[in-house]
């Protein structure tokens, strides 16, 4: 999956999860979105895992600084799944 497609998938998840309009961009982080608290965060992670059929390891998502990092992580897990 290309990086562009990953962002498309993230945008679809954001549209589903957030009540307000949130644009998925590489620099975006949770602190930029008022709604994005620890509870909504659980939703985002679950939705991404289910949509893309991947599973993150413990602590991985927490270690990402922004949506760009998160997209990198998603691509790594997708590549692993493809093998």
């Amino acid at each position: 999956m290309s990086r562009e497609q990953v962002f498309e998938a993230l945008q679809a998840v954001f549209d589903d999860v957030f009540q307000e309009q949130v644009v998925a961009s590489a620099e975006l982080s949770a602190s930029d979105v008022e709604e994005w608290d620890s509870i909504v965060h659980i939703n985002v992670v679950i939705a991404v895992e289910q949509k893309l059929g991947i599973r993150f390891r413990v602590g991985e998502v927490e270690a990402t600084r922004n949506v760009g990092d998160f997209a990198d992580l998603i691509q790594r897990r997708l590549a692993e799944k493809g093998r």
Binding site: D16, V17, I39, N43, V44, F56, R57, V58, G59
Partner: protein, 595 residues
Amino acid sequence: MVALSTLRKRAAKSGFQPASAPSVLRLAIVGGCTLFPLAELIQHCIETSGLGTTGQNHSRRVELFTGDYDNYVSEIVTPDSSLYEFRPDLIFVIPSERKCRYSGGLFDGRDRQEAAARKTAADILALCEMAQNRSGAELILANFRLPSGIDPGPYRGKSAASEWTFRKLVNLELGLSAPSSIQICDVEFLSSRHGTLVSTDQRGWFESKQPYALDFQVLVAREVSHIAASLRGSAKKVVVLDLDNTLWGGVIGDDGLDGIEIGDTSPRGEAFKAFQACLKSLGERGILLAVCSKNDHARAIEPFTDHPEMVLRMEDFASFQANWEPKSENLRRIARELNLGLDSFVFVDDNPAEIEIVRQFVPEVEALLLGPDPSMYVQELQDGRYFEALNITPEDAERVSQYRVAVQREELLASSTDMVSYLRSLEMKAVIAAFQSVDVPRISQLINKSNQFNVTTRRRTELEIRTLMANPACRGFTVRLSDRFGDHGLISVVICLIEGQHMEIDTWLMSCRVLKRQVEEEVVNEIVRIARESGCDRITGRYIRTAKNGMVSDLYPRMGFRPAPGASEDEAEYILIPAEYQTAETSIEVTLKSI
């Protein structure tokens, strides 16, 4: 599972407005774990559970209070905590799994370990009672999921110090000691059914202190929602049943009494019989049974009055509507007869068209469409969870329950010191009947399947049996046995052939489950009675050895027959003179039918 915010967002888009619901439930959830998303799942399940497929709205809006992570003890113990400020109607408590542990050693005495389990349970229950007394709320308590970890191996069941056994003990104590005001959300059962391994999510625990894997949280939420509904007394009181392909296989009007599938003769017949037994036990628990069928009344009642394999009989039904009017009309008639609301009815049918009519014209009735496989009927009915009682009332307990019967049988076995008094106490009743058309499938099945208690092992087809029945020189009979614990059904088949003044026992077989119940003696009594009636002065019995029928090699001598000369290892002939025979006394009350 879809993430919850997504669910709620979709529900809002589809026009579902919880705010329009008629009543509000103030639900507080506290526990030793993170309560999101579980709390919102429970809220979602309760708010949507009242929405029937027909659009009526029994739903409630849920006002939610979620306790802080692992703060439930303080929230309950502190009199002016935010929990009590919330004024909950219902409290759901999930005690901390981490605190449900034996702190001593694996090799401590059993007494100490069990005492610790009792103490753990008592502490939790005391906390719950305090919460109830202070809030006046209903309370649901989650018990403990069993651990999925394989350690310490096979030893886990041999010491109450193992997490597995300790939690089981605590759960048992919680259930058995809980006052009737506390409902148990049986997480142990749910996780065992679902699988403890997939109910567990270690990452979810480490990252955000999730109590269970997400999919399993949905199951727990549904259970809590179900208990919350039961607390409002929404359990059903009546189950209304279709007949053809619901209570038996086939169509009574077309296939007739001999043609319908019911009973132990075929796998499908067994499945229908099991469904009837399930319904019968509902009846014993106080659920009313009714029939609503498109049929001629006279044909429809035939199986209930005349078919030996039916579990349900006419007296099991509170109302019986078999006619050609629309089922919706008949349901209304049943409701009037029983003076009960249609919203306490469940209607069960295998025909989608009938279900649709009922859903359209009597939407208050819960309509259950049975699937294509009768072996699933019991589960399909149970999965509806229509008839669950939170507590069994004294009125329920007065009814004859199968549990009580099971206890009685055990007590009886324990108290009967000698065989004779045991047999007498069984209150056995036998029906000995000449071969009847309706019994042919079962007779044929026994003839072709019985191996052990079978003196000659002669196999015959249904057609051959029917030919024998038409032959006046052939006297065949069957034995059915029941005792105070239940009906064993048709368990013995005998075929006697008469030639002049001589009778030969061609076939004698019996189901081994009624061995040594004196049925053998009653069979010989009957054989002799027929011989005398037919003017025979000699009866021959034959034993033909097979690999499996060793248990009856000495049957004839035990029954008073004399060996005839010329016996070999594989075959022996025995003689009984009717004039010399003394009728055997047994503890069975025998009824003869059309012999």
